[in-house]
Symmetry: C2
Subunit: 376 residues, 2 copies
């Protein structure tokens, strides 16, 4: 929460929920990453928030970009990034999208199987590929499934196949899980990576790069370690496992870059109880799972919420969105404590909402428009 955001909201006159994102905070976050890991290139995960002004700022600061689709590549290019600063980091790509990316100048691609290597060899000849490996997401608030990556045992075969097909077997990537609160989680993945580097060196293939992924957390209700703590832990693991041959590294922060830069203002639409004896109040906001707060799915991300009545006595509330959909409930299993004095019509501020909110919005479920966004 910054004074600039509060000032903006004081003067706003439009109706409906909105996100306000402060570019000063994004700048500070970028500088923190760049200082903590001076030898590591930062690839901002565009999917976290592809607002043009965010991308333009980061492009000016020297950031590179991790993209998930041709549209995101075009957004990064439009923001002023050159193609050599763009990674096509999605392991799932149509061959014609790879071709389009190649035409746009992109030469760095993620893979996690031989079939994807073959597409890239055909559609983007001579490009660099890095192979994503599976690693445990223990300690993450949003652990990743096995959707991306192959077992570390399979990676050498995938990269050797790339080498054989004329691609540059460039390196490895992994992801320790989003909102990872344990800085030591990178260690086991780096250990596995170093073993793969040695294995491929024995086969005459010199990998050069380790993509350390994202996972850097933003502060929601629980406090999280500073970027510096992550950097120290990662550098320690790199030295431990790679000795004097420390590879080129890149990171892909998304949430860690923009999460704490944004605040959503929402309105209390209704407060009610389901029966006379009900101990828990229901509080309905004009924002929910389908117009911005998709990451409350399974109550995984628990946002801090500020109200005009903070400091008053609180009581447990179920917090829900405005749509006619019963799954549009934000916090129910673990009720949220809100001031007893909260009223219908009160404005609330939902903090840490700069990442993974605007683009998750539905196009118009229940007739509610997508989340409005102001970048200041």
């Amino acid at each position: 929460m910054t004074d600039r955001i509060l000032e903006f909201l004081r003067n706003r006159r439009e109706d409906g929920p909105c996100l306000v994102l402060d570019l000063d905070v994004v700048r500070e976050n970028y500088i923190s990453f760049a200082r903590a890991l001076p030898d590591t290139r930062v690839f901002y995960a565009v999917k976290a928030n592809p607002d043009p002004r965010v991308l333009e700022l980061l492009a000016r600061l020297g950031s590179c970009f991790d993209t998930a689709s041709v549209v995101e590549i075009e957004q990064a290019l439009a923001a002023g990034a050159s193609a050599d600063r763009i990674s096509y980091g999605n392991t799932i790509k149509k061959e014609r999208d790879i071709m389009r990316a190649y035409e746009l100048g992109v030469r760095l691609f993620a893979v996690d199987c031989e079939a994807e290597v073959e597409k890239i060899a055909r559609a983007a000849p001579g490009s660099k590929v890095f192979c994503r490996i599976l690693c445990s997401g223990a300690g993450a608030e949003w652990p990743l499934s096995r959707k991306f990556g192959c077992s570390p045992e399979m990676a050498p075969r995938v990269l050797e196949h790339a080498h054989r097909l004329g691609l540059v077997a460039f390196g490895l990537s992994f992801h320790v899980g989003s909102q990872q609160r344990n800085p030591y989680m990178w260690d086991s993945a780096l250990k596995a990576s170093a073993a793969i580097f040695r294995d491929l060196a024995d086969r005459g293939i010199a990998l050069q790069m380790v993509n350390l992924g994202g996972g850097f957390p933003t502060r929601y209700l629980k406090s999280v370690p500073a970027v510096k703590a992550y950097a120290q832990s990662i550098l320690g693991s790199l030295r431990k496992h790679f000795g004097n041959h420390i590879p080129e590294t890149i990171i892909e922060p998304g949430r860690g870059m923009v999460g704490n830069a944004g605040v959503i203002e929402a309105e209390v639409v209704l407060i009610s109880r389901k029966s006379e004896e009900d101990k828990v109040k229901w509080v309905y906001l004009d924002i929910g799972k389908f117009n911005g707060l998709a990451e409350t799915m399974d109550e995984m991300i628990r946002y801090p919420i500020k109200t005009p009545f903070d400091g008053d006595a609180t009581e447990p509330c179920v917090l829900a969105g405005p749509s006619c959909d019963s799954v549009d409930v934000l916090y129910e299993k673990e009720p949220y404590f809100l001031p007893i004095s909260l009223e219908i019509g009160s404005k609330v501020l939902i903090e840490g909402t700069g990442a993974y909110t605007t683009t998750y919005s539905s196009v118009g479920f229940n007739g509610f428009p997508p989340l409005k966004s102001y970048v200041i």
Copy 2:
């Protein structure tokens, strides 16, 4: 799946996943509902699919409309429905939205607590209100939470409050759960409704209407009873609990009206395994949770999928979407059996996707556009 849809897809040249919806099927569904329950007014749940051509067809056929927001009210009006055929069925409404609806001519509103009654009394004086009561969603594939409705014991107080404030205490509503496969589930809610009718009659308030809600299923992988079976069961329960004083009734089908009218065509982007020993294949489509298939959440809705290789031997597959998001997995806990011969680039047809697909699409998560839709 209809010949018209297949013919349309044969001639389509654009890239990317799309929904094709056959209006002939919607017409048949409307007629089935109207014939099975001739004394019941049909309020189509606009949120299921608000495509203008669907709304125009239903308006021409004489349907009424259940809406969740002012935007949906405007959509129904634009399709040719008069305001007296529109219900503002969301129990969670901003007072200024109620006022706007009232200005547009709407006079029928849902409530489930006294606070909402007070908003309506101020913003839409003299209107009819019906009170939603909670009922068990047992037997539904998508059981509703306690988000909407109050306990049956509380409903008389809510309606009496409406009466006192000059509103017309018009009736009751309930929802037996979406995709309800047991036609007898309406019975206990109708029993509770009849008791409330008697209670309010004793207080001098004559309720007139029971809104039987939606819940009418569409056929996914499991077969479902025909509309006629639901009608017989409901009429039986009405007679049993209301005797000779059967109230006016309305139904709000959404999925049951458009679900089986739509088919999504998607493409296999990648097929891979996570390790050499993996028994389960991963099949990635160009559609997932964020661009149309949100209802695979918790693997609740299991769509039938047709491939060009049906009839060949099958094997268990994890089915996932194209985005860089680990939750974008459609079926994993219970793998989906697909032909071993399925290939990267194969087109597949996902049936029963006319409802709750297009509007759930995100505006552009990962740079993927919202689901395209063709109504034929």
